[in-house]
């Protein structure tokens, strides 16, 4: 058995990592929908889901059950190939984009196979991500066309045109980071930002603030979120390209949208905010206790909130969850080796969470762009600014090389 494992370790270890990652990402997607509904509700001075479980925590489960049992009508004269292929393409590409993202700096060997924290470590991971973004247009175009409905076709073509317009400024705004780092590999970009170990000051956000702004705005347009979601807004074209999709296929589009949000947030942290690097200088070793310092009070607060909850289910579930958080925090304090391993992924997930919160915050606060405003903003403002950023960065680098 052990021999079989060592001989085929190059297949088995990635499969285990893929299974783990897909499971974690799908759970995070589900609870991201919960977080979005709660945050938007609180911005709009109401509560959001609070009936299904304690604080509405089981709402994603209820939504999942609904999606499975709902009727799945297919429009008449729909192009079967395009109609069935579109949600698969979108979901497959969104999940594949997570394969090249590095989550932490460690390399570990399992059954004689050395691997990194992250599924694949390729030299061109940034180009792979752009390739996947470029192919994502097809899911939307085919969805709009395959539904054999005028609303869907218009919504699909508008959304695809928006995506390919903002893809240009997305790729150009990253070129500044590439010039500074000199490498396409995301792992090397993060490591190059942390060479001096002085924490926050060496991150790419300071030389590339213009690049980051262009990148983030283009990324929001790529993922079709507010303020750029005219093609799928409910008050405009019914629901745009996914009007005629119901239950499981609509759930696939939904999951794909949230997964691409997660992937873009991971990319933004890696490229501009130092990935898994801590914002504090490496000399301040007392900051290694920060994860425990956050988890233990949070766990205690959840226990305190759960004890006085209104129904009995909440009074059992919430203290359980709170004890789990506080227990993990205490375990990190007691075992310093595990604490060292957790540092990189902790900062990575904290930064990704902040970006996701900004995404949700913008959805609750901003109005939508009109379609012609959207296109002129992309072509007449963002593209020239991205090109100017590239030229400026190249000039500064050449001037410094003298």
């Amino acid at each position: 058995m052990n021999e079989f494992l060592t001989q085929y370790a190059f297949l088995i270890v990635p499969i285990i990592k893929i299974a783990l990652l897909v499971f974690v990402v799908l759970t995070v997607d589900a609870y991201l929908t919960w977080l979005e509904r709660k945050v938007i509700a609180h911005i709009q001075a109401r509560w959001g889901p609070h009936r299904v479980g304690p604080h509405g925590l089981l709402q994603p489960l209820a939504d999942g059950v609904k999606f499975i049992f709902k009727e799945d009508p297919i429009p008449a004269n729909a192009d079967k190939v395009a109609y069935f292929l579109a949600p698969f393409i979108t979901l497959m590409l969104a999940l594949t984009s997570l394969a090249v993202i590095p989550f932490g700096p460690q390399k570990f060997t399992l059954w004689g196979y050395e691997s990194t924290v992250g599924i694949a470590d390729v030299n061109i991971s940034l180009l792979v991500l752009f390739a996947i973004t470029a192919l994502g247009v097809y899911g939307i175009a085919l969805a709009g066309w395959g539904s054999n409905s005028k609303y869907s076709l218009l919504g699909g073509l508008r959304s695809s045109a928006q995506m390919i317009s903002y893809e240009l400024s997305l790729t150009l705004s990253v070129v500044g980071v590439l010039l500074i780092a000199g490498d396409f590999s995301l792992r090397n970009i993060v490591e190059q930002q942390g060479t001096t170990g002085s924490g926050l000051l060496t991150w790419n956000i300071f030389p590339q603030i213009v690049g980051f702004t262009c990148f983030f705005i283009s990324a929001i347009a790529e993922t079709n979120r507010i303020p750029f979601d005219l093609p799928e807004a409910e008050s405009e074209l019914v629901a745009g390209f996914h009007t005629e999709y119901a239950s499981m296929k609509f759930a696939m589009f939904f999951i794909a949208e949230y997964t691409s949000m997660i992937s873009i947030s991971c990319l933004a942290t890696i490229l501009f905010f130092g990935g898994w690097l801590s914002p504090f200088p490496a000399a301040w070793t007392f900051t290694h206790y920060l994860p425990s310092l956050i988890l233990i009070p949070f766990g205690l607060w959840v226990i305190y909130d759960g004890i006085r909850y209104e129904n009995i289910f909440g009074r059992i579930l919430l203290p359980g969850v709170g004890t789990a958080f506080a227990g993990i925090g205490a375990a990190l304090l007691v075992f310093p080796t595990i604490n060292g391993l957790v540092q990189g992924p902790f900062w990575f997930f904290a930064k990704v969470f902040i970006f996701l919160f900004v995404y949700i915050w913008m959805r609750g606060t901003l109005p939508r762009f009109r379609y012609d405003q959207l296109m002129s903003f992309g072509w007449k403002f963002l593209l020239p600014v991205s090109i100017a950023n590239v030229v400026l960065t190249a000039t500064v680098i050449l001037w410094r090389m003298r």
């Binding site: 390739a131 470029a134 192919l135 175009a141 085919l142």
Partner: protein, 166 residues
């Protein structure tokens, strides 16, 4: 039967199936989807040959821009499926033997020269993007500037063609 041989046959079969599907499909949108499958399979073959940058550029430019253009045009000019007409007698009686003869000629040329080609490909090394960019900006800088001029001309042409008649 090494792993790279297996991967080569899988990708080659995918590319050939995509090309055959391009011929056999009736609606042009399905032909476009088959061509996209061919391009992704070819990108996989470029990766197998060690040129990672060309593989990425193939997917980004060919698969993500050129084929999107084709798909948009097909969706906008929705002409429907092709009609079935009979081929002329000349095409069947003269064309097919001629095609077989040309294929045989090319096959013979390839097989006779296979002994002079370097034995195998891909000793496992990758062509780094740095090598390619050094070549583009030193030896091939003149064709590079010419292609950028060509793209400018193409953009101007597309704008002129897209103008409405006043």
């Amino acid at each position: 039967m090494t792993a790279s041989l297996v991967i080569f046959f899988v990708l080659a079969a995918l590319a050939v199936l995509g090309a055959v599907s391009l011929i056999l499909q009736r609606h042009p949108i399905h032909s476009a989807l088959s061509l996209i499958v061919v391009m992704v399979a070819l990108a996989g073959l470029y990766l197998l040959l060690g040129s990672e940058f060309v593989a990425a550029v193939q997917i980004i430019v060919y698969g993500g821009a050129i084929m999107v253009l084709f798909v948009f045009v097909i969706m906008l000019l929705n002409d429907g499926e092709e009609e079935r007409t009979n081929f002329s007698k000349l095409a069947t009686f003269a064309g097919i033997p001629l095609a077989v003869a040309i294929a045989g000629f090319i096959g013979a040329a390839i097989l006779s020269s296979s002994s002079t080609l370097p034995a195998a490909t891909a000793n496992g090394s990758l062509t780094s993007s740095k090598t390619l960019s050094m070549l583009i900006f030193t030896d091939f800088v003149y064709p590079f500037e010419l292609t950028s001029f060509l793209i400018l001309v193409a953009i101007l042409g597309a704008i002129v063609l897209a103008q409405r008649e006043n």
